[in-house]
């Protein structure tokens, strides 16, 4: 995935490395969170067996799919809401600027 389009100044070496490193860091973080959350929801905490039961395995698979879906949905919603709220604040700020003075 390339972040750098035409017409912008070329990124420095350090910036490029940092960009890749950051993306990998985000992915690793997401992976860890998903594993932790899904283990908590799906895996029997009494550890009576050393193998994953079929039910647990299926639960983990479904959990990972839902985790990604939730992540995407929340991401989209936050973007949308932020835009809407900033627009509302921008319109309200002009009117509210006359307060108190």
């Amino acid at each position: 995935m390339s972040f750098f389009g035409l017409g912008r100044p070329q990124p420095t070496s350090a910036e490029k490395i940092a960009a890749v490193e950051n993306e990998l860091k985000m992915m690793a973080d997401m992976h860890n969170r998903m594993t932790r959350v899904c283990s908590a929801k799906c895996v029997d905490k009494t550890y009576r067996e050393s193998d994953l039961a079929k039910g647990e395995a299926v639960c983990l698979d479904r959990c990972s799919a839902k985790f990604f879906d939730v992540h995407a949905k929340i991401f989209d919603q936050i973007q949308k809401e932020t835009t809407e709220r900033m627009a509302a604040a921008g319109g309200g700020g002009g009117g509210g600027g006359g307060f108190g003075m």
Partner: protein
């Protein structure tokens, strides 16, 4: 990325992986301890507790492996979806 940049990245990744490994162990200890160890009438680990810890580690590692597979699949699907949206 140039060859030199790749090498730099690789060095950083190795450092990060080591850190990651240590934190995996830390999490495992916390999780398995919390689930398995609840009896403090003795300071020695009982057979039950030892068995629980062993099973906990095995299960956690199996879970990690499975989650890694699912993550790679989901990540690919998400990247494809983002590309599709970008092209719209």
């Amino acid at each position: 990325l140039t060859a030199a940049e790749n090498r730099e990245l690789e060095t950083r990744m190795q450092k990060r992986q080591l850190k990651e490994f240590m934190s995996v162990i830390g999490n495992l200890v916390d999780t398995c301890f919390n689930s398995c160890i609840n009896d403090f009438t003795s300071k020695a680990l009982s057979g039950t507790e030892t068995g629980c810890i062993t099973r906990c580690v095995q299960k956690s590692m199996t879970t990690q492996a499975r989650m890694a597979e699912r993550f790679a699949e989901q990540n690919q699907a998400m990247a494809a979806e983002m590309q599709r949206k970008a092209q719209q």
